[in-house]
């Protein structure tokens, strides 16, 4: 299985290569990618250089252009497609059907992957993208159990990529409006979930309050682990009590399921976290490189824990092993 690793900067890309990435995904420094955070991402020149250095080491570069174009600015997204192709990207990761159509018609030789943002979670939906746009790989939404993934792989005619580590969304990938509700900006359109420009932390004697767009979304005691300041990980008081009504602040870690994912026929494993620093990239990529090498050799590997890098300092296997209804 290929190990697909995140890079928010050229330095992170180099770090991922050093740590054992088979392929690296990244995006342009604008709203065309779903990690449009300040100080992050690649200029056109940086991408060209990154692709050249990756190819020199036999590493692939996948370019995420996975937000949904605004009606009045479709050319921005189309230019991103053209420039990524020109830079030598090994694949484009797209979500919008209009953009998929543009890429398939304009660059028929370019390998296309379907972003998780497209939320294609069943064989019929995936077949549509494969037959219509020639999509070669689908990144499966984080809503599927291991047996469901195996069923899908058997029925479709393209490769599959699944997340094995990092942040989890509330299973509304590509459709979530929580950030938009609170801030007017969303990962789907502007590429930012809970943008930092709308985040405030208030520190007091009783701990820290996180606020998003004027809403208080959580309060942490001084020694209590924290998560990202997103509405989906907010803790709210309702008539049923106070707690995490959408999702606990936890991170996905599917290290223990790698054998099952291989047996299910999955092609590639993806690490979330283009917004994270080099220390995260180094440690998480190296962890999964070791685990995959051990798996390939038929050995068990003591690859250690990644808990310090996780939201709330807690991990989960998410929907892969569903224990809820």
């Amino acid at each position: 299985m290929e190990l697909i690793c995140p890079a928010g900067t050229p330095a992170a890309l180099k770090t991922a290569m050093d740590a054992g990435a088979d392929a690296i995904y990244c995006g342009f420094n604008d709203e065309t990618n779903a990690r449009n955070f300040p100080g992050l991402n690649f200029s056109r020149d940086e991408l060209r250089r990154a692709v050249a250095s990756a190819h020199a080491r036999g590493v692939k570069v996948l370019v995420a252009i996975n937000t949904f174009p605004r009606a009045s600015a479709v050319d921005l997204w189309q230019r991103a497609v053209d420039d990524a192709v020109k830079a030598g990207a090994d694949a484009l990761i797209l979500a919008d059907v209009g953009l998929l159509d543009y890429a398939a018609r304009t660059h028929p030789e370019q390998r296309l992957h379907l972003s998780v943002q497209a939320a294609a979670a069943n064989p019929d939906a995936i077949a549509f993208y494969v037959e219509t746009f020639g999509v070669r790989r689908v990144v499966l939404p984080r809503v599927l159990s291991l047996p469901e993934i195996a069923d899908i792989v058997r029925e479709i005619k393209c490769e599959t990529e699944v997340f094995v580590f990092g942040g989890l969304c509330v299973m509304e990938e590509g459709r979530c409006s929580l950030s938009s509700y609170a801030t007017g900006k969303s990962p789907n359109m502007q590429g930012v979930c809970s943008p930092a420009s709308h985040v405030a932390y208030e520190h007091g004697a009783d701990g820290t309050r996180s606020r998003l767009g004027g809403f208080t979304i959580n309060s942490f005691a001084a020694d209590e682990p924290a998560g990202y300041p997103t509405l989906c990980k907010g803790r709210f008081s309702t008539e049923h009590g106070t707690g995490y009504i959408f999702e606990d602040p936890v991170s996905l870690d599917a290290t223990t399921l790698l054998g099952g994912l291989r047996d299910a026929g999955v092609t590639a494993l993806k690490i979330e976290g283009r917004q994270r620093g080099r220390a995260y990239v180094e440690s998480v990529v190296r962890h999964f490189r070791r685990a995959l090498d051990a798996l390939a050799a038929g050995q068990s590997a003591d690859v250690g824990q990644l808990t310090p890098f996780t939201e709330g300092q807690v991990t989960t296997v998410g929907a892969y092993r569903k224990t809820w209804r």
């Binding site: 928010g8 900067t9 050229p10 330095a11 992170a12 770090t15 050093d18 955070f37 300040p38 100080g39 992050l40 200029s43 943008p195 930092a196 420009s197 985040v199 405030a200 932390y201 520190h203 820290t208 942490f220 001084a222 020694d223 209590e224 682990p225 924290a226 998560g227 990202y228 917004q275 994270r276 620093g277 080099r278 220390a279 995260y280 180094e282 440690s283 190296r286 962890h287 250690g304 990644l306 310090p308 890098f309 996780t310 939201e311 709330g312 300092q313």
Partner: protein, 186 residues
């Protein structure tokens, strides 16, 4: 110079309170002159940091090592980056970042993950969170090696000084890469 990293954000050592108290009466000006020169040199050598800072270049960042009786105000202006050393952060900084000294140094070198420190409550941010994020990402891309930067001020003694500083750093933040790689990287 290749970087090494830690795969844990468990707490790093902090400055002993007795040592921190001993520092308190010392004048701040010599430290300010040295660090301001150091900052300007780093900015000259890594002008791309201002591209990543974008509209946040020129903002005033307050940096407070929580285990020291002093703090720093950094103005990351492309024309003239400034640094001042203060006893207490002024209220008019755009954003402040607080954590024990070794955490801050490890963050500067990209050896610790900022989000992980936030999750474990070892890093406190106030004010303009977007500016802090831009600063973090800009610095992370620079791949600073403070031992190399600092030792280069020592002319012909640069290499031995770098080794001493690197050894001191390793005693605080152990290298967790496989032994064979550590050897091949040195």
């Amino acid at each position: 110079m290749r970087q090494s990293f830690s795969d844990t954000s468990d707490s790093l050592p902090t400055i002993p309170p007795l040592l921190a108290r001993a520092i308190t009466p010392l004048p701040l000006l010599p430290l300010e002159i040295a660090l301001a020169g150091f900052l300007q040199r780093i900015c000259r050598r890594n002008p791309q940091v201002f591209d990543r800072l974008g509209p946040h270049a020129g903002k005033r960042f307050g940096i407070r090592p929580t285990d020291l009786p002093l703090a720093f105000v950094v103005e990351a202006s492309p024309r003239r980056p400034r640094l001042s050393v203060v006893r207490e952060l002024p209220p008019d900084v755009d954003a402040s970042i607080a954590s024990p000294l070794f955490n801050l140094l490890a963050l500067l070198e990209g050896r610790l993950d900022g989000d992980a420190l936030m999750f474990s409550r070892q890093l406190v941010i106030e004010g303009d969170v977007e500016a802090v994020l831009a600063l973090r990402n800009a610095i992370d891309d620079v791949q600073l090696d403070l031992t190399t930067e600092a030792s280069s001020l020592f002319g012909p003694l640069a290499e031995p000084v770098r080794r001493v500083l690197a050894a001191a750093r390793a005693s605080v933040l152990p290298d967790t890469r496989p032994a064979e790689e550590v050897r091949s990287w040195s």
